[in-house]
């Protein structure tokens, strides 16, 4: 099925001042499309978590929103540094966030588990030295 929306949002490392802007736009776009509130809320939480992860942990990347009549899809692809142990990173409470991130109230180690909890489908692949890709799907029909 053809995409109703396909939009890419570049997210830069350590750009805390603009963190959340991509997620706010994603929420606006989906609201306009009439996506049900329950799905909208889950997508919003997951998109903010993944956007913040790009800001806090990555060397920059792109967040892509894709909407078809069947599903909302969020794909985050970064330029590195990659996660050495994905299972460990998925564990609640585990965090490698910087002091700056922690001083702003981030780094509770809830990001990845919270994305997984909110998405209907969650896939993460990572390679050290290359980068991390997170692919999340939210069913509409």
């Amino acid at each position: 099925m053809s995409a109703l929306i396909h939009k890419e949002y570049p997210v830069e490392m350590a750009d805390y001042d603009h963190a959340g802007e991509a997620s706010a736009d994603i929420k606006r776009q989906l609201k306009q499309l009439g996506v049900p509130a329950s799905v909208l809320r889950r997508v919003s939480v997951a998109s903010y978590e993944v956007e913040l992860n790009l800001v806090i942990h990555s060397e920059g990347g792109v967040l892509t929103l894709e909407v078809t009549p069947e599903a909302v899809r969020l794909i985050s692809a970064d330029r590195g540094p990659g996660i050495p142990d994905v299972d460990l990173a998925m564990r609640e409470g585990w965090s490698t966030a910087s002091e700056t991130a922690r001083s702003l109230g981030f780094g509770a180690g809830m990001g990845l588990p919270n994305m997984k909890r909110n998405a209907d489908d969650f896939n993460i692949t990572s390679k050290v030295g290359e980068g991390t890709t997170i692919d999340m799907g939210f069913r509409l029909a």
Binding site: V45, Y48, F106, N114
Partner: protein
């Protein structure tokens, strides 16, 4: 209970007069760890936090919260207030401690989150 009802209750000053005081407050919460609130926030929440930066508003807006309450007369950053106005999030500043604010809200019937 509406935002306009909790204002006198917690002796608050409205920092964003543009926000709708008729909005319903559905539950109350206090936490300063944003990533924790991201995981536990809810629609219509009155959230007490000492954090003052812009990401507070982003979290409140994504959850469709009713208002953000700054305890102990803490001043929110100017950029955050502008962002709150843009997103339609009400910001209240109270001279009371977070403990006292939550106590008064709870006693007045504002429930805990689900």
């Amino acid at each position: 209970m509406k935002i306009k009802d909790i204002i006198p209750l917690i002796e608050a000053k409205v920092i964003t007069p543009e926000a709708d005081p008729e909005k319903e407050v559905l539950c109350g919460y206090t936490c300063d760890l944003l990533s924790w609130v991201m995981a536990h926030g809810q629609e219509g929440m009155a959230w007490v936090t000492v954090q003052i930066h812009m990401n507070v508003i982003a979290v409140a807006a994504l959850h469709d919260m009713a208002c953000v309450i700054m305890p102990e007369s803490i001043r929110m950053e100017k950029e955050s207030i502008e962002k709150a106005v843009e997103e339609g999030i009400c910001v209240l500043e109270s001279p009371l401690s977070g403990y006292e604010i939550c106590g008064r809200l709870h006693a007045a019937g504002v429930p805990d989150k689900d």
